[in-house]
């Protein structure tokens, strides 16, 4: 379990960042953070990952860094490495042999159905495939915690939906803890088990709600009245914050 106990990270120059926040993230739960730009959602992910230190409060998280996977908005693939080499990277840096790292990386590429691109360089790939490679590179470490920072932001809507569904299936089978940041209310409610909405600069939690939509996801769920009423509720909160 990950715990934030009054943790804050405020950037003094801009006054933006995360205000004092206390949150628990349970194991095997998919939590999505929603809120306007500058409210500290990505900062919260960076605090959990250990990439930032809190200004105040504490963050309790897995000690071993290889238990944490981070998927950036920009897929952050290294342009001089092939898809396979990018996927193997976390294991190679840990000292895993080339043979074993290659086998594990190929398994993940197969799982994400991108093995055909193993020899390609990142610039030869579409945005959707690059994001799949980034996911494969994250999954190759078998992380217990996956942090997703607007992973679908740069993708077209059909690819977002397709990749979202696949990610949910992966989540259902692997059961890691996922904390995701997105600007899309629909995406947040459709994919996750719980949504946390932030408001203000620095950001504060204004809604923390378990969704109870079950484990399986289908496109038709997005037309469900309960889903739509939740969309309206979140929209109202976010709109209120803007006004």
């Amino acid at each position: 379990m990950i715990q934030l106990q009054g943790a804050s990270r405020i950037f003094t120059k801009t006054g933006t960042g995360l205000g004092a926040t206390s949150l628990d993230f349970n194991s095997g739960e998919w939590v999505t953070l929603l809120g306007p730009s500058g409210c500290g959602k990505s900062t919260l992910l960076r605090l959990i990952a250990g990439l930032e230190k809190p200004s105040e409060g504490t963050v309790i998280r897995p000690q071993a860094k290889d238990q944490i996977g981070f998927v950036f908005q920009d897929s952050a693939l290294l342009p001089w490495l092939s898809v396979l080499e990018n996927t193997m990277l976390p294991l190679r840096l840990k000292g895993v042999s080339l043979k074993d790292a290659k086998a594990s990386a190929e398994k993940e590429l197969n799982r994400l159905r991108i093995q055909i691109h193993a020899g390609s360089k990142p610039h030869e790939l579409s945005g959707g495939i690059r994001m799949r490679v980034s996911l494969a590179r994250t999954l190759v470490k078998s992380p217990k915690l996956i942090l997703l920072d607007e992973p679908f932001a740069a993708l077209d809507e059909p690819i977002r939906i397709e990749l979202g569904l696949e990610l949910r299936e992966l989540f259902n089978s692997l059961k890691p803890t996922i904390v995701m940041v997105t600007h899309s209310i629909t995406e947040a409610l459709w994919l996750s088990d719980r949504v946390v909405v932030f408001q203000g600069q620095p950001g504060k939690v204004v809604l923390d709600e378990a969704l109870g939509f079950g484990a399986q996801r289908t496109l038709s769920q997005r037309g469900d009245p309960r889903f739509l009423s939740m969309v309206e509720r979140c929209f109202g909160i976010l709109k209120g914050g803007l006004q």
């Binding site: 860094k65 952050a76 342009p79 360089k121």
Partner: protein
Amino acid sequence: MRFGRVLFPLIPLIVITGLSEILVSSGVIPKYLLPAPSQVASVLLDDPGSFISAFLETARASALGLLFSVVFGLLIALILSFSTLVRKMFYPYAIFFQTVPIIAIAPLLVIWLGYGLPTVVASSFIVSVFPVIANSVTGLLGTEPIWLDLFQLMDASRLQVLLKLRFPAALPQVFAGFRIAAGLAVIGAIVGEFIAGSGLGGLVDTARNQQRVDRVFAAVLLAAILGILYFAAIAFLSRILLVNRKDDQDVLV
């Protein structure tokens, strides 16, 4: 596109060569100030032996100077980028080193290293090493923050960050430094040869004393060709090593 790359630079060359031939032949510009291109060509053809020998001497000295610059410049840059403390202590001296005019220290080199190859190589090295250091340090320290975050999350050691991330990410800028150094290595060798004798620099010095502007131009032409050859060799090498790197396309052009 490839055809255009060769053709377009040739257009100004042909125009300027033709124009200077006409202006000098017709007496508008006196021959003792600017030799006609045909006169430079005939000087080269009349005495090819001495020009080839001088060219090879300068080529050897500048190639060694450039090689030392590449090897030591890169090594120094790696050390400077590895530690902030070391960088703060020594980088200002690298800049200071760059600002010292080579023509002023070339006589010292002769005193220390004597006449001949070592002085010329040292002069070539001193002039060409700084762009390698400066460009490489800039490249090594300019790594995308998101990649640094990624390596931090993968618990990479400092050495792994340097060798597996910073260095490959910096290669386009490292090669840009090499390309600048290529031209400077020839200039440094020529300056060294002015003082230490021999090579194209020695040939220019002798021709200058004899008021042989045509021989000066012939030597300058060969020195320029040498610089272009180095530049092309490094560009070729960078194309091979940086193949398939979209992030390098802007630098390669």
